[in-house]
Amino acid sequence: MPTFKLDGKDVPFEPGDSIIKAAARQGIEIPHYCWHGGLSSPANCRMCLVELKPTANQRAMMLDVVEWDTALQDYRPVQKPKLQPACQYAAVENQEVLADTSKHVLQARAAVQELLLLNHPVDCPICDQAGECKLQDYWLEHQQTQKRMLDEPVHKPKAVVFGPTIVYDAERCVMCTRCIRFMDEVAKDPVLDMRERGNLNEVFVAPGRQLEGHYTFMTEHVCPVGALTTKDFRFKARVWFLKSAKTVCQGCATGCNAHLDFDPRTNRAHRYRPRDNEAVNKYWMCDEGMLTYHAAHDGRVIEARIGSKHVGLAAALKEASKRLGDVPKSAIAVVLSAQHSLEDNWAVRELGKLLGAGTLYAAGAGVGYADDILIDADKNSNTAGVKELAPESKTYAQLLDDMRAGRVSHVIALGGLTPRLDPEDATALGMLGTLVVLASHEGALTQAAHIVLPATSWAEHAGTYVNRQRLHQVSERALFAQGASKPAWELARLLAGAMGLEASWVKLKDVRANLIGESPISTRDFLEVAPSASSIVPPSLPPLSPTRPPRPSGGPPPPPPGA
């Protein structure tokens, strides 16, 4: 691989890479606002300027400028090199590039930073970006001077509603045009543009339109400052209180990699942010996916139920074992769920095996909107995983048919969701002798269930999900278990124990060891590194962003079971 020198350090690059991209791949950040790995390079923020040393037979490009001489008490003419934007200048073999080591680059960065903050309102206390704002970070790193302008800054529109999800503040905007380019290049809906010039420059929505569609949240995500904010997160939390867990979006079969930001003090999730993964979602997520973090708290099953009566977990397990204890084993059906992790499904399938149950079925959410950017029609996160565990499993429609025909009278089901909500289906479910549901979320199955056991949601336990590309992706735990809920693989073990059967797994690592034993060779390596790996990408693809050290396992101790 060819290399160039950045501040004396060899940086490898692929032909066609810009300097900033090659440096970013090595984990070296050249400060920038407008450049984004997934978008084009307009080079309009001028923050990434670098000095290029002339090659052997090249004349240095120098500019005549004046410099203040304190001894002379006057300006004197000097020369400075013409700096180049690192986001547009293609890397050249053996090129010598100076960034942090060049006096001129440091001066240019401070000057650009000062210009961007000239008319900035500095309303950090009421800005939701405070704490993760590039203007704040770069002021500290590259400027650190007070404002010199004494005049009233130019005022521009504030809190402009761009659409159902996004609010815009023109005063905070640095005109990097990332949001405009995102809508143009990725979402293919060029609804944003900029107007006016100079310090009156602002982003606006095409007349007669709103910023809407399936990718509006990403305009906020690419915004390096607080100009664009989402109505969903606006005024909800201060980011320095939030911690992130590397999770996988549960919205559809794409399995976008995401950071789930949560407040460890209140055990509440506050937002999703896409996590870069070149193999799956690149840098993006859709609006529907970004909002699925609400499912960490909405519609959760957090208490065991017998019928509609809330009971303790032990009582529910006892009731389940009593009801299932003396029924013919062939009449028991086990329903896996494409909404739950591979570990949960494996444990429930094993429970079925221990019971000697007959047929395996698979349920989950139905189909919905799809596009060719990210969104998949299949609204389940683990359809491929269930298929891998139980290739012969029957569908939910077949389960209903078998119920009506009387072939199935007792069901142990994982997950509460069904592909559709239909009164006729509810009648069929009502005919069952026993329906035990291990579910994290309410659905048609939990409503019809005789016994509901509360399972933790994806945010409360680590789990593996197989996306539509058959990539095994591990989602980390963010929150502590809510209410009396426990991971479904543990509920399956407890249920087996209540029925006098001995489960072969006690801990998550036992489940994973068994999964590794069963998986196709190609995925085995990924599962083995799973507990620490953030996302499982085939080894041929290098991780795009520099890997961060794992989050320290701090935070409050887990609440006692049953608390």
Partner: protein, 217 residues
């Protein structure tokens, strides 16, 4: 038997011995000294009273800060605190008596004692500040936990919290009385009796404020 470690000679005594008073009957009875002490006190008492009645000496109650008075009648009288004394907190208000705090949580972040609890909320529909900034629905300071370091005041970017009330920590008889809520904190005035902050800034609705729409250009 020979000693392994010969005994060191004692160090010379570097002091002079006190000559104690002889324990005579008059010393042992204490009476002459007690009477002498009472005599000194009473001579000052009669002298001061006479001087005060004659007007040649300041009255310690009415002329408490005059020269020659070293005692004050606390708690009826209090010493003046220094200009920058950090007393109990107060929350300042704007010109329209609304709370100045925007619930940015900088104070509770900076607080080393973690005694500030804020619940932020949005202004109600129709308020000119809705969509522009938020306000504290709850603002609670546990004054018992507070260490009066003043970090909250320094962290506040809006001059919304101050410790210039001049009131020092008050003794209460139960813990819940130390929990100062938003209303109590807002009702406290500065030492000059004011509730507002001097730091004016752009507010939504000001003629100079850009407003919430695009029509001003």
């Amino acid at each position: 038997m020979a000693r392994a470690f010969p005994k060191k000679p004692p160090a010379p005594l570097n002091a002079t011995l006190l000559a104690y008073a002889e324990r005579t009957a008059s010393v042992q009875s204490y009476l002459p000294e007690i009477l002498g002490g009472i005599g000194a006190t009473m001579s000052h008492f009669f002298k001061n009273t006479r001087d005060m009645l004659k007007g040649s000496r300041p009255d310690p109650v009415t002329e408490r800060y005059a020269d020659g008075i070293t005692t004050i009648s606390y708690p009826e009288q209090k010493r003046p605190y220094p200009e920058r004394f950090r007393g109990m907190h107060r929350l300042t208000t704007r010109e329209d008596d609304s709370i100045r705090c925007v619930a940015c949580l900088c104070c509770s972040t900076a607080c080393p004692a973690q005694c500030i609890h804020i619940e932020a909320g949005e202004y109600p529909e129709g308020d000119k500040r809705r969509g522009y900034e938020r306000y504290p629905v709850k603002f609670v300071i546990d004054e018992l936990r507070c260490i009066f370091c003043g970090f909250c005041v320094e962290a506040c970017p809006c001059d919304a919290i101050r410790m210039d009330t001049g009131i020092h920590a008050v003794p209460y008889d139960s813990r819940d009385q130390f929990i100062y809520t938003k209303d109590l904190l807002t009702s406290m005035a500065g030492r000059d009796g004011s509730h507002q902050t001097g730091n004016a800034r752009h507010e939504p609705g000001d003629p100079s404020h850009p407003g919430l729409d695009r029509e001003h250009h």
